[in-house]
């Protein structure tokens, strides 16, 4: 068979290890030149394909590609851009195929969450309809850990490690100050819909007295009275209280805590985070001195604290996607299948994209303890293997080494521009 080019794009929110997946894709493709001549990386994700704006990865050195393993963020640029259905916007899909044809692209690797798996699935379908079949592989990535079927998602293990380590460290700070100063510390973490990241904070608690003392999950309706009662009891017992709050914490009516009607001096609605809302609530009702941290992007870009298991898996799904593609498998996604908890054993398996597209996996009820504020032993057994091992990046002058890609564009072959 004749070798063809491949298109690789990163999609949605980036992670500390998505570039390790890119590394896995490119290094593996380079071992199979008889199938894949070059990987064209989409500049800013799928937009790069639509606008024929692609980076020629063959022009990057072996060393540069290897160092992607250590680089947070999305090295080629990502995009929050969801292709609509065929009916609403068939033009976009046709444009993709037009670009793929022009550049002799026979493989499409789409590295993202459930939206992206839907896109990859649709591209596979339409490419057949249009008589230019493209081998389409989804590659899982999301800090939210909410993709179904796969045991876990690359990107999650590192954010989980970051949240658990940071909670443990901050708690040591708070406990030493609580006699005369801060009594309550709130750590706001990501996870608008699913409580996986908040749950990871629970890994810092090895003994019943340990922090965090309260975890707020999006899956549990927030009850102000019960919450305040818990905070008060916790401070009484331990002299301090550490709370891990998901940004998605919400009331029974579905309203996020983060939008509880605070207004600025001009009457504009204030979109504070959940941490500041909780802090004010505690201060006004209980009078405790508080501090809060909002980890925001720090948690998902903290490559300096990546989980070694996560890095290994992120690389492995990239590698597997390429191997599946050259075997002719399409409309599939490699997944991580757990074989055992202790010792942790896993292998790469696969699933049809149709089974993961647009589906979310919430934290199951059996992972939330009866008090609604902590995780169960089953949850700990699930989470603990995912944060194992440290995989430190190389440093240069005190900071993680930066790398500069050549980032040379693939020459455009089409005369028309496409506006997204």
């Amino acid at each position: 068979m004749t070798a063809m080019n491949a298109f690789y794009a990163q999609s949605g929110g980036v992670t500390a290890v998505i570039n390790a997946t890119a590394c896995g894709v490119i290094e593996t493709a380079r071992c199979h030149k008889d199938f894949i001549s070059n990987i064209y990386a989409g500049k800013n994700g799928i937009i790069g394909a639509l606008q024929e704006d692609m980076i020629d990865t063959n022009l990057e050195s072996k060393k540069t590609i290897a160092s992607l393993r250590y680089l947070p963020g999305g090295v080629f640029g990502s995009a929050r851009y969801k292709l609509k259905g065929f009916k609403e916007n068939r033009l976009e899909y046709e444009r993709l195929i037009e670009v793929f044809k022009a550049h002799n692209i026979g493989y499409f690797f789409y590295n993202g969450g459930n939206d992206s798996m839907d896109t990859a699935h649709k591209v596979s379908q339409i490419s057949k309809t249009m008589g230019y079949p493209v081998t389409c592989l989804g590659i899982p990535k999301t800090v939210d850990n909410d993709l179904p079927v796969t045991d876990n998602c690359p990107g999650f293990g590192s954010v989980a490690k970051y949240v658990a380590v940071s909670t443990q460290e901050a708690a040591m700070d708070v406990i030493s100050m609580s006699k005369t100063s801060t009594k309550v510390f709130i750590m706001e973490v990501m996870g608008r819909h699913a409580g996986w990241i908040a749950a990871a904070g629970g890994l810092a608690k090895k003994h019943p007295d340990d922090a965090p003392h309260i975890i707020l999950f999006p899956e549990v309706a927030f009850n102000k009275q019960v919450f305040l009662k818990h905070v008060k009891a916790c401070v009484k017992q331990h002299d301090y209280c550490v709370i891990v709050a998901s940004e998605g914490a919400r009331y029974a009516n579905g309203k996020f805590l983060a939008e509880t009607g605070t207004k600025d001096a001009f009457g504009h609605a204030q979109l504070g985070g959940v941490a500041s809302v909780l802090a004010e609530m505690i201060s006004q009702n209980l009078g405790f001195k508080y501090h809060y941290a909002i980890a925001d992007y720090l948690q998902r870009s903290a490559r300096h604290l990546a989980s070694a298991v996560d890095v290994t898996q992120a690389y492995a799904v990239g590698k597997a996607a390429v191997e599946m593609a050259i075997k002719g498998q399409t409309a599939m996604m490699p997944i991580i299948k757990r074989i055992s908890d202790k010792p942790y054993k896993w292998k790469i398996d696969q699933v049809a994209l149709s089974r993961v597209a647009n589906k979310e996996k919430m934290l199951p009820k059996r992972f939330i303890a009866k008090d609604n504020f902590s995780i169960t032993p089953a949850c700990r057994r699930y989470l603990l293997p995912l944060i194992q091992g440290e995989d430190y990046p190389p440093y240069n002058e005190g900071l993680p080494k930066k790398i500069q890609l050549k980032n040379i564009s693939v020459p455009k072959l089409l005369s028309n521009n496409f506006v997204v």
Copy 2:
């Protein structure tokens, strides 16, 4: 001479490396049993002395003491408790001496910032007046880096490294999302009075295009129009903008940005951080999508990312204080003296407590660039050596190893309680 006991206490906000100093004090004292029989550590800082609540460190194993080097927070508890002047509260000083006498304490090691150096100085004076002279040594500690005379303060190098690394990592995230999502990222850092920590964010900027694009120092009056103009220009040029904002950023009239009159739905004044105020300002005036992180305690407890130079120096000042004490020096503080920038060379020197007590060292003008939003090459030369080297803690099951001290109290010998 007869060996006596020593009292050691941690004071004020804790750091990622203050326990490395405790380690230096205790390990060194153990080598000089002919002078110092035991180190009694104050539970919750100086309050432990006032209330005769002290931990017997002789009962902790060699291994436990060695592992303090890796532990963030203040292992014996710290306190925000400032002893007043002799006139206002002579009772407190007399109580200290009473406790010291009762426990045969001849050495006082006080590990803190400029307030604490004032206390150590006063204790030295009053102990003489009361006819029970105590050898008093201050030991520098503060993430704020605002102690005078010493070239830098243990605790600062690690927070500087944390802020620089986190800014660099988050910037890689933002740049990959900027095409379709976040344009502006704000990183709020500590430093209510001095801009040292904010300045450290500037270390992430190696090339003119690099983040951070804007640093807000407490030393520079905030000008809303100029700031917004810079943000707008930055997004136009780079498609994104990363801002490091000191919590102490303020207007020309001295008012902190963080207290700009925001009120909640009930009319209570909202004490938001500077990041949310800037974010709203940018959103309302420029319409850019933003994200912000508030590192808060994470930055000063991040032992997982400590600077090796900082850990070494934190240990060294503890060791030096003990060595000075057994030489009979009193009312002194060991300092770090820089010999050269490149290669970075330093040594331990010393200063009289009277020269550092209650004095603050601001970021000098020559360290702030003419645009008021970045650091000068001189500032970089000063800061860079302080973040050098990684000194990773040992891990256990994915998290930094916890240690549990025996924490056995020294039996009380006084009949009266002291209320603080």
